[in-house]
Symmetry: C2
Subunit: 592 residues, 2 copies
């Protein structure tokens, strides 16, 4: 099965590297044991292969289409989501009180990776739904949870996030969707919403009974004006069908599908322009307090960003595995010096193919390991014994989230690029899978905050706000872990890279220096990301020593690859920062 | 017109940087003056826009299709090629003796870049045809030239190169297509060909009266066996329709279209699996001597490789210009510290967008400048006064060809990636052009020899064979040119990079060191490519000082960008080579 993540690798990460066993001993996750979790992982791999991978290519060729105001998707999508829910996966991450299984985030993330690897477009409906329901269980009132979250946890309804508008994508403070008060009922304060929402994944489809939109909008003041900037934003539940007295989908709400976006890849996920309130206002209920919309949404957005990274790593990983299979079987050329007699050799015998496979392995296994580590930190944040440990998990998660979003997105895509290259001309054809993986994955550096936005988050909100205090803690942790590492020269390259990063960041001590650093936020993010990944690979190589010999050799070789070929790039990225180059700030539009 | 290359930029490269004026004073190109050339460049830009760009998106949606053994393409392709020929472009590069215009390669390359930028898929039919006819005028006998080259130069027929077979792509020595002697006629020694040819661009279509295939095949010995390896290869003219007594397309030859490849991009160019000799053998005539097939083909292949780079640079450039236009008009967010009141600013006001545009400008303008420089060297090879100058041009062209093929392919694509990123979600939709440019361009690192193959060419055939003698000359030339450069610190970074490259290459003095270098041939190619590009940017910045102020500022800023952000990557790529890391050689297949 090359549609899913290798099980031995998942087991290594979960049980050996991240010690999921220790998690299962905590009261919070006490209902589960390793055997049960393994059975779920087996089921996930099986269903991903049988019900998600099966229509991955079809859903690329036969895109969602708009018919009389209703978006139609392949029947296979509905079947896949139903099967997924029946097996309990829709409920996996939720508390038993909400009908969930109460599994650790680490396990849920491992499960999710299988479905994303097999068919990210179909899996996305489930991911968005889980995020939506999680927000509601966290911030909604009891009636809202019962009415809107539980049907999603049961897998009968799906959910969306409606943030962007045509004129406001990254700049959410500029949204103009209005929510006008319309009294209150048993579901809470009620509003009528009018406005246009863009890029709504899963915004309409016919694979579920109902769709729960979580919509950012602004409540006008008494002067009918909207408060400028993010402060004015609140968040609302706006269902496609209004629930009737029994909680079932009733009358259609005032939401029109104004159009579908036709994407380069990721086509199976419908992506809509939704018009709210064309005929009087879409009915919605506020979640949380007025003006708290962005804070509420970002609570879930962090999870969504880690989820994007997970998907990007999974797509990259599948490309890597396909390329590995191809390289082991496709014969072409001969070993150096072998002459022209005798048969051709599998292309994996060529050093340049192995160099590319090493890169792809380091990018994709590293990316998935990073996602799982973040999930482990989420569990730590919820279940660690001491407040200090929980606070540290929160801080590190904040630091790692922009990396967990961007690094897999950029390097998963790079691995997909390598996978095409290893396939040669065949990889460029639609008869093989790797070109679609590349197209699918190209979305990931864009949605849920572009790489540039993540870089500003890392620099502006994380590193500069506390003058690097959390980073210092984090680097100290890395230093402790790599001290005495068997790969001593490699550990030394990482130590030097951390020192260089500190040097670059220290330039922010002056206002001019700070402008240089913010103007170079993306290269700084790249450098920080590679430091994180260098640590992960050294840590994996250390943990692998007790594993089966060839597996261990592979982990160690990949760590050596990463330190020899990738870590040196950190100096290159930091070089203009340390030199104080402010060209991105000073460049004039008219000079281009 | 964002479908074509900016004319002021082309003029700067041609007349100021590469001194095309001096070329036109040479006897070989004496029939042309600057006014005439400018008129042709104007016409090229106009026709590229009106007859090539017009069906670029349609030809992506409506791919070539196979109907009863005949490939059908859009009628617009036929119209475009006819208009191109009527304007004289099909004949531009050929000698007047063959009905050509005898224009320098430099001018032809500038003209070609316009058509490639507008519609690379349609332009490719013309490029392949020119390459085919050039091979025939160089190596064919008079009858072959008259019968097969002239109709191509007149733009009535098209041409292909048939090299690869399903089991032999990069490894041409392993082809098994057979050519059995069948007497001799007025066109030369005649053969019957049987075999399967894969990846034949323009292999069939209905946009021309006839198609001239140039086919690599092996002539069996008396024992009926084929000679192993490249030595056994000869080259044959195999037309789709056999010429009748009057030289017009007559009976259909024994060539069947066994299938069409369905590509990720570049879809307008039909790409065929051709079966030769399903019913007795396709009639063909040998060009040149027995066993000289690869030598003859490679004479043209070098031009084809530079042509691939040119197309890649042109696609990248168009993406860059579209992104620039978008960044200047799309408003989103606010300047740092501006608060949330007031309107949003064009995204070019954000430093990270400018950083990306600087990268894209350096990649794409640099790539096109490199292609034009190579064309200038082709002219030098043909028309320089002294034998020493001609020999030096040949040597430098040999050194630069792998760079001219790969650097634009990798970095043109990187610019297309940036163009999507700057467009955000819009760039990922098919409503905008940048996603198709990205898909189209992804072919270029693959065809006409992958990046890995080019790297082995640079290292094995160019740098190591003469122990770096040509490189030393070339680096000495660079050093002379950058000595006393106004951008002194930037020139110094390039000087250091050249020194590092020499250090890395010196490791090849031992057999073990040579294995390390060949195992790291691709990072070496990357490093060498960036050195070439660093020189080009310093040279462009120097030449730009006399230009209009804002244009000059742009060239200088881009040179500074390249030296500050890109040159430092050279150390990173060379780092494992200098450290003697032989992991790509030692890694085992079973460790992955």
């Amino acid at each position: 099965m090359t549609g899913v993540i290798d099980r031995a690798l998942l087991d290594f990460w979960l049980w050996d590297w991240l010690d999921a066993g220790a998690l299962l001993t905590r009261a919070q996750y006490g209902g589960h044991d390793r055997g049960g979790v393994n059975a779920m992982l087996d089921t996930a791999a099986r269903l991903a292969d049988s019900h998600f991978l099966d229509h991955w290519k079809t859903s690329d060729r036969e895109e969602p289409r708009l018919e009389n105001g209703q978006v139609r998707v392949l029947p296979a999508v509905k079947r896949a989501l139903a099967t997924y829910a029946e097996a309990g996966f829709a409920a996996a991450s939720f508390a038993p009180a909400h009908g969930g299984l109460g599994l650790p985030s680490l396990i849920c993330t491992a499960i999710t990776s299988q479905f994303m690897a097999a068919n990210i477009a179909t899996a996305s409906y489930a991911m968005l739904t889980a995020g939506n329901a999680a927000l509601l269980t966290h911030f909604g009132n009891e009636a809202q949870v019962n009415c809107f979250a539980l049907p999603q946890i049961e897998g009968r309804w799906t959910g969306t996030m409606c943030l962007s508008e045509p004129q406001a994508g990254s700049s959410l403070g500029d949204i103009t969707t209005r929510a006008v008060p319309d009294g209150e009922d048993h579901l809470g304060p009620r509003y009528r919403l009018t406005g246009n929402k863009m890029w709504i994944s899963g915004g309409d489809h016919d694979a579920a009974e109902n769709i729960v939109h979580l919509v950012l909008a602004k409540i006008p003041g008494v002067d009918e004006k909207l408060i400028a900037g993010p402060k004015g934003i609140s968040i609302f539940i706006v269902p496609k069908y209004r629930p009737d007295a029994g909680g079932n989908p009733g009358a259609r709400n005032d939401i029109a599908v104004a159009g579908l976006n036709h994407k380069m890849g990721f086509r199976g996920t419908s992506n809509c322009l939704l018009n709210f309130g064309e005929t009087g206002g879409a009915l919605g209920w506020r979640v949380g307090d007025e003006g708290q919309g962005l804070a509420v949404m970002f609570h879930m957005m962090n999870g969504a960003r880690i989820g994007v990274g997970l998907g990007a790593g999974a797509l990259g990983y599948r490309g890597y595995r396909l390329a590995l299979d191809y390289a082991r079987t496709r014969t072409q050329g001969r070993a150096p010096g072998a002459g022209t007699n005798g048969g051709q050799v599998p292309i994996i015998e060529h050093a340049d193919i192995r160099r590319m496979l090493l890169a792809a392995k380091s990018y994709t296994e590293g990316a998935l390991a990073l996602s799982l580590w973040c999930a482990r930190l989420e569990d730590e944040e919820r279940s660690a014994e001491t407040a200090a440990a929980r606070a540290q998990a929160t801080a590190w998660l904040g630091l790692l989230t922009p990396v967990a979003k961007t690094w897999p997105s950029e390097y998963g895509l790079a691995a997909n690029d390598i996978a095409i290259q290893i396939h040669g001309g065949y990889g460029y054809t639609r008869d093989f899978d790797v070109e679609q993986l590349y197209r699918d994955n190209r979305l990931n550096p864009i949605h849920e905050g572009t790489t540039g936005i993540q870089a500003l988050d890392l620099l502006g909100r994380k590193l500069l706000r506390d003058e690097g205090a959390v980073m210092d803690q984090f680097f100290a942790h890395i230093t402790t872990r790599i001290t005495g590492h068997a790969l001593a020269p490699q550990a030394e390259t990482l130590r030097r890279a951390m020192a260089d990063f500190r040097t670059a960041l220290a330039g922010a001590d002056t206002p001019a220096g700070q402008a240089v650093i913010l103007g170079n936020a993306t290269p700084m993010l790249w450098a920080f990301g590679h430091i994180v990944m260098g640590f992960i690979w050294l840590d994996l190589a250390g943990a692998a020593r007790k594993q089966e010999k060839e597996f261990a050799q592979g982990q160690i070789a990949t760590a050596i690859y990463f330190c020899a070929y990738e870590i040196p790039k950190i100096s290159a990225w930091l070089s203009p920062v340390i030199a104080g180059v402010s060209l991105p700030v000073e460049m004039k539009s008219t000079w281009f």
